[in-house]
């Protein structure tokens, strides 16, 4: 009879002993973990360049809904609706990368990937926020991505996975079919610490030097700065533009693996704070500095500039942050920074090839 056949078939379908014992173990211990993912807000002090975060409580009810999906659903419902699962992985250097899902439209793609310690690995590299160090790309074997951005989504301690949303753009539309996504570097053990920066060392007159900036930017245009702080245009003798910065502590006296405040001055109505990040080639060390005025208002720098100074084989990375402020008493002001650091750069060869039927 069908009933007997049905019972016989489903009698064989039982949970694994391991699963049951795990559940009972949790019941005996008197605790059952249900994770809540929360995003911590940071003050959005500037539109263009500062990190903005969201706060929410997003209960992850069951592992069958991947942790990243809830977060993407919250941050970008439209993207969540168009994500196509991929779930292909590869392992290198004891870390497994999995391409979880993709949304591909013309020449742009949003890819959700995860990183975790490989199953047979004895290392503990992935246990929190990590960074892909801009070493990723997407190719359809004809077009390669030319620009991109990466956003760390979450670390799911249950799965042991760190999730990212990678956005890439190519010059031409991607061809549906065979695609390859790769990552070459992973920065592990990221940390951040909020520390005060002592403004009592601020001087009112300081020597400056000219450097070749590796980057500059800010909310205000250069024209709002004193003339002496404008970028010096390239000339025949000096083909690379230069800028004036404080002639502070020399690179040789700075820490290679930590932050060093190298100068602080208030001149021509601009507070200038110079910090050396050490050797950032393999660390992504950086800081967000906030000035607090007498009324308690906090703000990010109006403009900043960065450059490198070589000492032997070490390249020291400097930043100078500029705040246009009418300061009568520097003691009425305070400053703090969110110092970002990382422990270990792992270089590997993670690449996943997958097929996309159509998009």
């Amino acid at each position: 009879m069908f009933e007997n056949k049905y019972k016989k078939a489903y009698d064989a379908i039982v949970p694994s002993q391991e699963l049951v014992e795990k559940l009972i173990g949790q019941a005996r211990a008197g605790k059952l973990e249900r994770k809540k993912s929360r995003f911590v807000p940071k003050a959005a002090v500037a539109a263009a360049a500062v990190v903005v975060c969201l706060v929410t409580a997003v209960p992850v009810c069951a592992a069958h809904i991947p942790a990243f999906y809830r977060i993407v659903e919250y941050l970008s419902p439209a993207l969540a609706d168009h994500l196509v699962p991929v779930e292909k992985s590869c392992t290198s250097q004891g870390i497994t990368m999995q391409v979880e899902a993709i949304n591909l439209v013309e020449n742009e793609a949003q890819i959700i990937i995860s990183m975790q310690d490989a199953q047979d690995s004895t290392q503990d590299l992935i246990h929190g926020e990590i960074d892909l160090f801009d070493s990723y790309g997407l190719s359809d074997y004809v077009n390669d991505s030319v620009v991109g951005g990466c956003q760390f989504l979450t670390y799911d301690a249950v799965e042991g996975k760190a999730y990212f949303q990678v956005s890439v753009q190519s010059d031409h539309a991607y061809e549906a079919g065979k695609l390859k996504f790769w990552v070459n570097s992973v920065l592990c053990d990221k940390s951040e610490e909020t520390r005060d920066v002592d403004l009592s060392e601020t001087v009112y007159s300081a020597n400056t030097k000219q450097v070749k900036p590796s980057g500059s930017g800010g909310l205000i245009s250069e024209e709002m700065l004193p003339d002496s702080m404008w970028v010096l245009p390239a000339t025949d003798e000096n083909p690379i533009p230069e800028t004036n910065v404080l002639d502070g502590l020399a690179a040789a006296n700075c820490a290679a693996d930590d932050f060093t405040v190298t100068g602080m001055a208030y001149m021509e109505g601009v507070l200038r704070v110079q910090i050396c990040m050490g050797d950032t080639w393999k660390s992504d060390r950086h800081v967000e500095l906030f000035l607090r005025d007498p009324d308690g208002n906090e703000r990010y720098s109006d403009r900043s500039v960065s450059w490198h100074e070589e000492v032997g084989e070490t390249s020291y990375h400097f930043y100078e942050f500029w705040y246009i402020e009418d300061i009568e008493e520097i003691s009425d002001y305070s400053m703090y920074g969110i110092f970002h650091n990382a422990g270990q750069l792992i270089e590997g060869d993670w690449n996943v090839t997958f097929r996309l039927e159509s998009y």
Partner: protein, 191 residues
């Protein structure tokens, strides 16, 4: 700036909720007994509805998580059984609702064809389970509750918030579909 080339970051703070600690050793024993008593039933229903071991594992854990967090006081064996069956079905419904799950269906089909996730059964049982998997969700529910859990039409109706006549109709249609799927195997069943 080098630091500006990166897009917005999200800082995660995890908080962990602990369920109510059992006040006594007796409570822990009760939890263990309830889990052992109902684990097979919950798992089988979950598997029949979500069709893969991986997803059934997740549903299974979610059901007992809810049990240990709510700690319902059962009024008897029937009440306990009904509670677990209902919660299992509710967890499965949440699972089906997710757009992510719907889009994974295609991926699962590929894996099932490769034999990656199917259970190891004898040929006849495997054929029957595969045939049941091809039924729609509402048919799989009534088939399993009627033939495995041996619930009456009225009990199934109460559990699924449907009319008894609806349950009878679904059962009839499910049998018809299974018959055509299983062909010879079901000839005896039809007679």
């Amino acid at each position: 700036m080098d630091s500006m080339r990166r897009e917005k970051r999200v800082k995660k703070m995890n908080t962990i909720n602990r369920m109510k600690k059992p006040q006594t050793q007796q409570t822990e024993t009760i939890y263990e007994e309830v889990i052992r008593r109902n684990s097979d039933m919950v798992y089988r229903l979950a598997y029949s509805l979500v069709k893969t071991r991986a997803d059934a594992d997740d549903i299974f854990q979610e059901v007992f998580l809810r049990y240990m967090q709510n700690a319902p006081a059962f009024q008897g064996a029937e009440h306990e059984k009904a509670w677990f069956l209902r919660v299992t079905m509710n967890c499965c419904k949440n699972f089906w609702k997710s757009p992510w799950t719907r889009r994974r269906v295609a991926l699962e089909r590929e894996e099932m064809e490769q034999g990656g996730l199917s259970c190891e059964l004898d040929d006849d049982s495997a054929a029957l389970v595969d045939a049941v998997k091809q039924l729609s969700k509402k048919y799989r529910i009534v088939i399993h509750l009627f033939y495995y859990e041996e619930l009456s039409i009225e009990e199934i109706a109460k559990l699924t918030n449907a009319k008894a006549s609806t349950v009878r109709t679904r059962l009839t249609r499910a049998r018809r579909q299974l018959r055509s799927l299983l062909k010879e195997e079901l000839r005896a069943f039809a007679e």
